[in-house]
């Protein structure tokens, strides 16, 4: 119990003193996770919506596979991305291993199925409401996807926030592909793992509290900006 109090005190001190290392790894955490979120959302939102409105052969298999990929083990993703980006791998020439870009790639792979799957669930319901109207108005597939994404944006925000939550809290994959290099690829989660390994539980807990606060702040900021509760139910 005393370690938790010490952790909270450490977190308070780190934030109060505007610790340079803390700011550095916090900003890197945000940079990596938000970049991954933007890229994954750009892929997953149209994909999930497209799967909701299109009927094609093996559609169920594709959806089942996408749902299964939600549980993709991050360590395995990290390992595969590591092998792909290592010097002897097919993309080794790009020199991305142990850079934030590699961490973003790993996180995109991890969170895209999650966002796409939640999007598909939400869009399926909206599509059943809109189906007859949009067919009647002779809309193209592109117009249908755009309409569903716009009108279902609040549900999609939930999908995106779930993706962000998974990305910001992820440690296994980014540890492997990032290498946890100080001032280069160290982020909050890998720093916590490092400090725990060193036995500095107070600092690890302090970083953990900062991570939780950061996640809460991003969620609140997005909810505030999108005016989720103020505009009420549509």
């Amino acid at each position: 119990m005393s370690e938790i109090w010490a952790g909270m005190a450490e977190a308070f001190l780190l934030i109060w003193s505007l610790d340079a290392d803390l700011i550095d790894i916090t900003l890197r955490s945000l940079q990596v996770s938000l970049s991954a979120l933007v890229i994954a959302s750009a892929l997953a939102l149209p994909l999930g919506t497209w799967l909701a409105i299109r009927r094609f052969r093996h559609r169920r298999l594709v959806i089942a596979t996408m749902n299964a990929l939600m549980g993709l083990p991050p360590v395995v993703v990290g390992l595969i991305v590591y092998l792909l980006l290592s010097r002897t791998g097919p993309f080794g020439v790009l020199g991305l291993l142990f850079t934030p870009a590699a961490m973003i790639i790993a996180q995109v792979i991890i969170i895209t199925p999650l966002i796409a799957s939640i999007t598909h669930q939400a869009m399926r319901e909206l599509w059943s409401d809109y189906h007859d109207l949009l067919i009647s108005l002779n809309t193209t597939h592109g117009q249908r996807i755009a309409t569903l994404i716009w009108d279902g944006r609040r549900a999609l925000m939930t999908a995106a926030l779930a993706g962000f939550g998974r990305a910001i809290g992820e440690v296994g994959a980014i540890m492997i592909v990032g290498g946890n290099i100080d001032h280069v690829t160290r982020v909050l989660t890998t720093a916590i793992a490092l400090e725990t390994g060193k036995g500095d539980f107070a600092l690890a807990l302090g970083l953990g509290f900062v991570l939780i606060a950061l996640s809460l702040c991003v969620n609140l900021a997005i909810h505030t900006l999108s005016r989720t509760e103020r505009e009420g139910r549509w």
Partner: protein
Amino acid sequence: MVSQDLYAQLHGVVVKRRGKAVLGPLDLDLLGGGFTIVLGPNGAGKTTLLKVLHGVDRLTSGSVSWTVPAKTVRQGQAYVFQRPIMLRRSVRANLAYPLQLLGLPKAEISARVAHWAARIGLSAELDVPAPRLSGGEQQKLALARALIRGPDTVFLDEPCSNLDGRSTREIEDILCDASAAGARIIMSTHDLGQARRLADRVLFLNKGLVEERGPADRFFAAPKSPGAIAFLNGDIIE
């Protein structure tokens, strides 16, 4: 005098659901202009016929051909569903949506939206989310959204089935105006009073088949088929 021009022809149209025919086989000429009212008991196939004509329901067999080019058929048509489908947007955005799909200039969209909002009495509710409107207001909005593009043909599936007298009258007034402006109205209804008020022609469906069709005055004065006679007498048709 309404136009008697041929608008569409149905050739051997059959629609099946779970192996059971819900419509057809139908061979039918649809004449243009004025009000064509589709009458019939529950399950007669009225909604399916309208959806087939509009192209939102697939045929099991047969074909539908129009006297206008196939590519422009859907662009000239609009459909009002029995349960109004509201986009989760404001009244303004719901009205603007079909015009945005056409890529019209913003100024023209604004003008048409203002005109139709005034026509249905929702000028003060333009920024209200459409799903929050009452049932009657939603149906009027759905009708205005259908008419805002100036379609030549409007399909309506029992648009007044859940509305009070005042809303029904407002919707009928709007439809009469649209008809006077040249739109052909093809509407299903359960309401015999409404059918008598509006119909130029009647199409009586029973068990997926056209049992009787013809000018409204003749149909109501002297129905010939047993199903139509029973329906007009208010008997239960099984």
